[in-house]
């Protein structure tokens, strides 16, 4: 990754201009043509620096009004199977195994999103049923204190 790639990533951390040629301004600024920028974006995607390009929604406003972080207590030998299983739920956006402190033994984390409280609860119940995990905590957010996109570069 060179300095031009870093400029491209820095640009993509922001909000694309809503215009016919959203990369034209950046191309002018960097003194290269738009095709070169597109090629670099594709290379940065292939190399894994970019997970995706597209719209980032405020999902609550888009209708996913009931959301919860659900943490499950799973034995190390069952973690792989349970993680794979819970990750398959369409309502689950994130599924991570985490290192946890002794007094919080819930080590498998899932973010669950639904359009209503009923549908959230029934999703969590079927996650529990299908995984056989019966020890879990539902951590609903009561208040958002901060939510921004990370500026890496």
């Amino acid at each position: 990754m060179n300095e031009i790639d870093r400029e491209v990533l820095r640009f993509l951390q922001g909000d694309l201009p809503l215009s016919s040629r959203p990369f034209a301004g950046l191309a002018r600024q960097l003194g290269i043509d738009e095709k070169e920028i597109l090629a670099r974006i594709n290379r940065l995607s292939d190399a894994g620096y970019l997970r995706r390009v597209g719209a980032i929604l405020r999902h609550q406003q888009a209708g996913f009004s009931s959301n919860a972080m659900v943490a499950w207590r799973v034995r190390p030998e069952d973690a792989e199977r349970s993680g794979d299983l819970l990750a398959q739920f369409g309502e689950v956006s994130h599924c991570y195994l985490r290192e946890v402190p002794k007094d919080f033994p819930y080590n498998l984390f899932t973010m669950v999103h639904a359009s209503s409280e009923e549908s959230l609860q029934s999703t969590i119940q079927s996650m529990a049923r299908q995984s056989g995990l019966d020890d879990y905590v539902v951590l609903k957010s009561c208040r958002e204190l901060k939510k921004v996109s990370m500026e890496y570069i």
């Binding site: 597109l38 597209g54 599924c95 991570y96 195994l97 402190p101 359009s115 204190l145 939510k147």
Partner: protein, 161 residues
């Protein structure tokens, strides 16, 4: 759905924008063709969806790990009366991107991204001193899924995911 239902066209637009966004010289024109509308109409609709707060931004999602960053989820227990003060301290950190009050004994949960584990630990120790509390760090040891796309269902159509 919150409040009024999303118009079918808006749902299609949001799904298209979250899907395979064309990496092309004129991506909105390309998307408009697939949606069967004009580029001008698409740009107008996107602006309206931004104004309504549904779209935070259109851009890239960078991968913290590939870029060499370390990230972790942190949790602590703060008395209700002290939440605003502690939240202000935590939120000052550039690497803190998400911070929520949650209904648990551990009531403050935030994500922290830093250049290394050492750097993250340093920030956490400093916050512990300033906030006067223990802060747990729960780094991920295995990622099963990251999908920050929200497929919107259009009435009468099948969910595609």
């Amino acid at each position: 759905m919150t409040g009024k239902k999303l118009a079918a066209l808006d749902a299609h637009i949001l799904n298209a924008l979250q899907g395979d966004f064309p990496i092309s010289v004129a991506p909105f024109a390309d998307l408009a063709v697939n949606l069967g509308i004009s580029e001008d109409e698409l740009l107008e609709r996107i602006q309206a969806l931004k104004d309504q707060g549904l779209i935070r931004r259109i851009g890239g999602v960078l991968d913290a790990r590939t870029l060499g960053f370390y990230s972790t989820l942190c949790a602590c227990q703060i008395p209700n009366a002290d939440i605003d003060r502690v939240a202000a301290l935590i939120n000052q950190e550039r690497g803190v991107t998400h911070n929520y009050v949650r209904d648990h004994v551990l009531n403050i949960w935030f994500t922290l991204t830093a250049s290394s584990r050492e750097e993250a630990d340093k920030i956490i120790s400093r916050l512990e001193k300033e906030a006067g509390t223990i802060i747990y760090s729960l780094p991920a040891t295995r990622v099963f899924k990251i999908r920050v796309r929200f497929p919107l269902q259009v009435e009468g159509e099948k969910e595609y995911e």
